[in-house]
Symmetry: C2
């Protein structure tokens, strides 16, 4: 019944427009009663984004299950991938919804509030992980915003293209970009984001350090290779 | 008249609640006609955020005036400070509005849409500046989101505190945090954010480079100091 309500709603939104479609129109086309609609969807906006609540719950659970010793930036990047996975479950529906959302200010506002909830979910996790750090809450908020922006950059490109191309690869690339900037455990990536662990070293030294100490540092880094 | 409409609206929002106040109530208290209200404010939400349109215009103009050779990250940080300046023009009003916005979902949604427009203004500027870079649009979107998150982190702390403390100092600190992470021209800051340009060098080298080339690189870096 939930699926037939979603299908009826989208058919009418595309035919008549979102504002011109009433909940009565939707339940009539789906052949169900008005109360059935509200059993699944609090508002007309929610029928456009039927899976975000589930995805938000999945994201919270996923983060709770991660090792407290793991790289927090990597974990929030993985959590963001759950959103892409949801969009990828039904690409045609996702593309239709994207086009509709762009046209209807009320849906755009609803989508922004959903994006904000994802961002807060990631930020709350990071705030707990960074609780002992100076600037921990600032770091958490900025990284959460970076991750959401990178994910949505790639997701929206894919939706704009009509669902062509490799969304997973593009989202991975965008999230790696953020992870390289913020992670303190960048998992074998070079400083410029290429997978070239094998041929880059980075040395940081006090400028006034004696040259023998600098060379000793280089030799130690090379030995570790 | 604009100011008296804002004052009347806030008095009623605080006394009766936002949803329970009509535009007719506001114009009656302000002693003006209904058409006067709509001359200044398209909706009831806009009377709560009366200066964002001006601030968005100021932000766009400010960015257009910046040198095309300057550090783009520094320029968007400075542009974000215009928002703080607007909030600081009337701290008591800003704190009242913050408390009201937290309580009213419709205002919260409206605020998110305003924040989104600031973020897009910064991102469009950065996209133009990074047009020639690979990943230029990704970099632009992520930096814009980081700057907005850092600014709002500090702004909201200040609003939550009831407008106590030094908002300018806190916003500067938060924006420096982002600038240190993303800028390629970090204005005399060390890699860890301390002002210690004088005693840190960073050398990046291919791991397989011969030692003489590594040492040559260090010597060249020291000579540049």
């Amino acid at each position: 019944m939930r699926e037939s309500l979603i299908a009826a709603a989208f058919q009418l939104f595309l035919e008549r427009g979102f504002e011109q479609t009433t909940i009565d129109d939707i339940v009539a086309l789906a052949g169900v009663g008005r109360r059935s609609f509200f059993r699944y969807f609090p508002t007309k906006e929610d029928v456009v984004f039927p899976d975000h609540e589930r995805c938000l719950t999945d994201m919270t659970e996923f983060l709770q299950q991660q090792s407290p010793d793991g790289d927090p930036v990597a974990h929030v990047c993985d959590a963001a991938r759950l959103v892409l996975r949801m969009y990828g479950e039904n690409p045609a529906f996702s593309v239709q919804r994207y086009r509709l959302t762009k046209k209807v200010p009320g849906l755009r506002a609803h989508e922004l509030s959903v994006v904000w909830r994802y961002e807060r979910t990631l930020a709350e996790y990071l705030r707990a992980r960074y609780a002992a750090r100076p600037d921990g809450t600032l770091r958490a908020d900025v990284i959460a915003a970076s991750v959401v922006a990178a994910h949505n950059h790639a997701l929206r490109s894919w939706l704009r293209s009509g669902g062509r191309g490799d969304a997973i690869k593009d989202v991975d690339h965008a999230l790696d970009y953020v992870r390289d900037a913020w992670s303190e455990d960048p998992a074998g990536r070079g400083i410029d984001g290429r997978d070239d662990k094998e041929d880059v070293i980075v040395l940081i030294s006090r400028r006034k350090a004696p040259m023998w100490r600098v060379i000793q540092g280089i030799e130690a880094a090379l030995d570790e290779a």
